[in-house]
């Protein structure tokens, strides 16, 4: 609480204070050219399918930072409401924060009105926000949920576009995934068929796209509840290294050692009121 006296309260929206400084740094003198740090993208395959009793969402678990795998087990299916989940592709930070904000807004709505939020509300709030930021928020989302009006699957693009569809794939691996979905999708599938279809679509994305990989997460949403299966299918590639690369203590050379003795200057004891203290 002491910090709130020191820092200024954060304003709303994005903070552009550093933009002129960044431009100067990037275009500066030839030797001093500094590149801005690249945000981590998820380079993903996500997919969703509407089936007889609800919606099945699927995602891979690899997050890449250009050509390096930054996270082998990242969670791309985000919680929005008890009956609505959202898969996110694009810039990792953008999808996290956008879905967090959406979730908070819908929780407030639920408390105010005493109702479960509808999927179309979530879509409208997202669309509104992403359009307002003119595509600067790189979030490509697939929203799925079941509410009192039925099961719905929507996609929202980074510029604010929206589409209501029975099946969809997004992310860098969407083309191979869409191939599988277009081939085998039919209306009113049962649960096992739908799970197999989404899982195979994500698997196609994982094998054909370098930005997707590792495991497959699934999320099944029905009127009764949600089954978040993480992981649904683990990667079969777990080649183990043959040798042990452990270092014995004393392997790291110690070049220099300085010891700073901390002097105890002054000691105070302050009693605190704690609730339920013994």
């Amino acid at each position: 609480m002491a910090l709130s006296n020191v820092l200024e309260p954060a304003g709303s929206g994005f903070n552009f204070e550093n933009s002129t400084r960044n431009i100067v740094l990037e275009n500066g003198s030839e030797e001093g050219k500094i590149k801005a740090p690249k945000p981590m993208k998820t380079g993903t395959t996500i997919a969703g399918v509407v089936y007889k009793d609800g919606v099945v969402l699927g995602a891979d678990t690899r997050a890449t930072s250009e050509e390096v795998v930054a996270d082998k087990m990242c969670a791309k299916i985000h919680y929005i409401a008890p009956n609505i989940y959202c898969c996110g592709a694009g810039t990792a930070a953008d999808t996290e924060k956008t879905t967090d904000m959406l979730s908070s807004n819908l929780t407030i709505f639920s408390m105010n009105s005493g109702r479960n939020p509808r999927v179309v509300m979530a879509v409208n709030i997202l669309q509104d926000m992403l359009f307002r930021y003119r595509g600067m928020i790189g979030a490509h989302l697939i929203l799925g949920g079941v509410d009192c009006t039925g099961s719905h699957l929507y996609t929202v693009g980074p510029y604010g576009s929206m589409d209501k569809v029975p099946y969809l794939a997004m992310g860098s691996g969407k083309l191979p995934a869409m191939g599988i979905l277009e081939d085998r999708f039919k209306g009113n599938m049962d649960l096992e068929e739908a799970k197999a279809l989404v899982s195979d679509a994500i698997h196609a994305g994982i094998m054909s796209d370098l930005g997707s990989g590792n495991n497959i997460d699934l999320c099944v949403i029905t009127k009764e509840g949600v089954d978040y299966i993480r992981p649904h299918r683990e990667s079969i590639y777990n080649y183990k290294r043959q040798a042990k690369y452990k270092y014995k203590p004393g392997t790291t050379p110690v070049l220099n050692k300085t010891v700073n003795q901390l002097e105890l200057v002054h000691e105070t004891v302050q009693m605190m009121e704690t609730a339920g203290s013994s």
């Binding site: 380079g43 595509g135 510029y159 054909s208 796209d209 370098l210 590639y237 080649y239 790291t252 050379p253």
Partner: protein, 238 residues
């Protein structure tokens, strides 16, 4: 539906662009096809290993495109970078090897091939071959030799070297395990063939975990005075 389109950047890697007005598209004569190459020299053997994935942007062109090319009975070259230049460069090297054999009635030695490659690469100093080369073989005395190159022909003889997309991940590990760098109180045993092969396999398994351009399979060419032996090990395909 989505206005932002994915396009290949100048070097073949994925680049995202937002439509903000007319954009000048430049034709780039180069592309980056990924792949990692590694060579290790021992007392009486040499190893040249490469993965077999050929990629461009986020797609895979082939899962079975090894990057080691056999030049003579005692020399193998590993080339990674732009595949078009790799193919042409190896064709030129093979032609020059034949010419040398016909004029001098003997095969080129590893050191001679390295010196020749340096000249060939520098000949295109102002429109370089976008290839990272590593030559592995046996020298005239039968000891292992590794020569590593940059795209314009600068080269040196090494004990071990990694090149290509995952080189920055592999080289420090080799420095530590083969060169015993940054370690004290460790018994510095000479590198045996079995240990070198096992190390190369482990190191590529790790590289495939974290580098998207490395994977599918690993091909190791083992060069000894008996000849050249190949070993193929599967790697992650995702």
């Amino acid at each position: 539906m989505m206005i932002s389109a994915r396009a290949y950047g100048d070097n073949g890697k994925m680049k995202e662009h937002h439509y903000t007005g007319p954009v000048e598209h430049k034709f780039s004569p180069y592309a980056f096809n990924g792949g990692t190459v590694l060579a290790v020299a021992g007392e009486d053997f040499a190893l040249v290993a490469s993965d077999t994935r050929l990629s461009e942007g986020y797609s895979i062109h082939s899962r079975d495109s090894p990057k080691c090319y056999k030049l003579t009975d005692t020399t193998v070259i590993g080339c990674s970078g732009f595949h078009g230049d790799c193919l042409t460069l190896t064709k030129i090297i093979e032609a020059r090897l034949k010419m040398y054999k016909h004029s001098n009635n003997k095969s080129m030695t590893s050191g001679a091939i390295a010196a020749m490659l340096s000249t060939i690469l520098y000949g295109k100093r102002f429109f370089p071959y976008y290839v990272y080369n590593i030559i592995g073989g046996l020298d005239e005395e039968g000891r292992g030799a590794v020569y590593s190159f940059d795209p314009v022909g600068s080269y040196q003889r090494d004990t071990y070297k990694a090149g290509g997309s995952a080189s920055a991940m592999l080289q420090p590990l080799l420095d530590n395990q083969i060169g015993f760098k940054n370690m004290e109180n460790v018994e510095q045993l000479p590198l045996t063939l079995e240990k070198a092969v096992q190390l190369v396999k482990d190191v590529f398994i790790s590289a495939a975990e974290r580098d998207v351009y490395t994977g599918d399979a690993l091909k190791i060419c083992i060069i000894t005075k008996e000849g050249i032996r190949e070993e193929i090990v599967p790697l992650r395909k995702d």
